[in-house]
């Protein structure tokens, strides 16, 4: 069974690249969102196994989205990997404090992304 990955990022090019890369392996079903504004409702509809979340987005930011998910019965059980173009310790700290499991700095190699997704979803199987 394919794992469901929800990717939230305001960079549509990035969404396209991740979607192609992950779906090409035939192991993942990918849903992309260009903003986190309705992340909770989308999580309920799509029921992802893992969420890849950009930290800096217009509107609702990654950390806020994390907090929204933490307050949701379904959202709080889904592992989150934070993504960012900036390798800032302050951001990493904030992200880990808000409950994310991993933090990846762009550009992200597909192999690294897949290994992280596998690592955090292995108990789901």
């Amino acid at each position: 069974m394919k794992k469901k990955v929800l990717v939230v990022d305001d960079e549509t090019d990035f969404l396209k690249i991740v979607k192609i890369n992950l779906e090409e392996t035939n192991n993942y079903e990918v849903l992309t969102l260009s903003s986190a504004n309705d992340i909770v409702s989308q999580v309920h509809l799509f029921k992802p196994d893992i969420i890849l979340l950009d930290i800096l987005m217009p509107g609702i930011k990654g950390i806020e989205a994390c907090e929204m998910l933490n307050n949701d019965s379904l959202g709080e059980r889904i592992p989150i990997i934070m993504l960012s173009a900036l390798d800032k310790d302050v951001d990493k700290l904030k992200a880990f404090k808000s409950g994310v499991l991993d933090y990846l700095v762009k550009p992200i190699k597909t192999e690294d992304l897949i290994s992280k997704i596998e690592k955090h979803t292995q108990f789901k199987q």
Binding site: E11, D13, F14, K16, I17, V18, I20, N21, E24, L56, M57, P58, G59, K61, A85, L86, K106, P107, I108, T110
Partner: protein
């Protein structure tokens, strides 16, 4: 902020002065020892040691005194103590007959001018003149025991003329020292203001760099992502042409972002030229967009289609709008609208630019301080905010023969109204 810096600098100077004073007294002590053994004159006695002790006690615990006392008041005590000590020494070294020692008065007067203010100089001059006169007159008329070291006594008329000459020199020297004090103060202030303006620009840039770097890095990450997809033979079907187009667009966007930042980081060219105000505003919005984009602020612009020209420095004019946009950004931590509108006014003789935000607004008492372009005034409480931009704005607008006004309602928002003279077209 300014006061703290001046105070800290003054403290440093006084600590330094303390060291100089001790070295001078030690040198004087060795000099007097030398003349005692070579020339036979002995000025060294218990009183002289008392003077040295007095100065030493006063100078040593500088850290202790200056941290507890008000340095502005303390410097007057310090000067008074120095002048008393000098007068004491003048007396024990022969009063009017030892005029070389009066040079020490000049040192205090000069010092007051260099580190302090014109008032301090006149305080030093007045006290020096008073104490020197008292020492000389009291010694001459026998109120103090006579300590002359020469074998004749001056005539009264001669004593008074020498005394008056000395006092006149104190005042003349004091006048130049006070003038120097004013010049030094204004230079120091200018230097400080310049450094703060530079710091403001640097801070604004630092603020923008993070977001511009974020966007540029994102573009590069996407370019590298597309390149990897294109090089992967298995995924060739996914639309090569579209990916190549995206790479081109992303590279162009990164170039634009970085070149705008590079232009802003360069020292503005102080050349006056006809500048399209709409373009200046659009460039400022573009430059700040990476920052504003991630906030909950909406930017609205209504620019006059006549696109009037203003005679000015392009880079500096752009600084006005960057400062006002960043100011609005700081004033609206939550949701808000930043609106920039231009319209010809004053029978097409000037262009009116309204930059308004829906932020927290400014208190009425603070508005007048900003209106006056009071340096270093900011209503933004947290350090590191960009309020200093208002000083820069005021200065640039005035330099371009324009005016700036503020309309603000607490809790509703602020509008900065800038009016700049429009470059009139030459009649054909």
């Amino acid at each position: 902020m300014l006061d703290d810096t001046f105070k800290a600098e003054l403290l440093q100077k006084y600590k330094f002065a303390g060291k100089i004073r001790l070295i001078s007294f030690s040198l004087l002590f060795f000099y007097l020892l030398l003349i005692k053994y070579t020339g036979g004159y002995s000025y060294i006695n218990v009183t002289f040691f008392a003077v040295i002790l007095f100065e030493t006690i006063l100078n040593q615990p500088y850290n202790f005194i200056t941290q507890r006392a008000n340095i502005y008041r303390f410097q007057y005590f310090q000067m008074a103590a120095d002048i008393i000590a000098i007068s004491w020494m003048v007396y024990y070294m022969g009063g009017i007959e030892a005029p070389v020692v009066t040079l020490a008065y000049y040192a205090v007067i000069l010092w007051a001018g260099v580190v302090s203010s014109a008032q301090a100089v006149f305080f030093a001059v007045g006290l020096s003149a008073l104490l020197f006169s008292l020492v000389v007159i009291f010694e001459y008329f026998g109120i103090f025991p006579f300590v002359g070291h020469y074998y004749y006594k001056m005539l009264t008329s001669q004593m008074f003329s020498v005394l008056m000459a000395n006092i006149s020199f104190f005042f003349a020297f004091g006048y130049f020292s006070a003038r120097a004090a004013l010049v030094i103060k204004s230079l120091e202030r200018k230097k400080y203001e310049d450094s703060l303006k530079h710091e403001h620009r640097f801070r604004a840039m630092g603020h923008l760099i993070e977001y511009i770097a974020h966007d540029a890095l994102n573009h590069l990450a996407n370019i590298s992502g597309y390149a990897r997809l294109l090089s992967d033979k298995r995924i060739r079907t996914a639309g090569e042409e579209e990916m190549i187009k995206s790479i081109g667009a992303l590279a162009q966007e990164s170039t634009n972002l970085l070149s705008r930042l590079m232009h802003f980081s360069q020292k503005p060219n102080p050349v006056l030229e006809p500048v399209g105000i709409n373009k200046v505003i659009e460039d400022a919005i573009e430059l700040t967009l990476p920052l504003v984009r991630y906030s909950k602020i909406t930017v609205e612009k209504r620019l006059d289609s006549a696109n009037p020209l203003v005679m000015g420095e392009k880079g500096r004019l752009q600084e006005i709008f960057i400062a006002l946009i960043l100011n609005a950004y700081d004033a609206m931590p939550g949701k808000g609208t930043l609106a920039i509108a231009t319209a010809l006014a004053d029978k097409h003789k000037s262009i009116k630019i309204d930059v308004s935000d829906t932020g927290r607004g400014i208190q009425p008492q603070d508005i007048s301080r900003i209106r006056d372009g009071e340096p270093f005034f900011t209503t933004q409480d947290a350090q590191g905010k960009l309020g200093l931009g208002l000083v820069t704005t005021h200065e640039i607008v005035t330099k371009h023969k324009g005016t700036i006004d503020i309309q603000s309602t607490v809790g509703k928002g602020t509008t900065f109204v800038i009016q700049l003279p429009v470059l009139q077209k030459e009649p054909n």
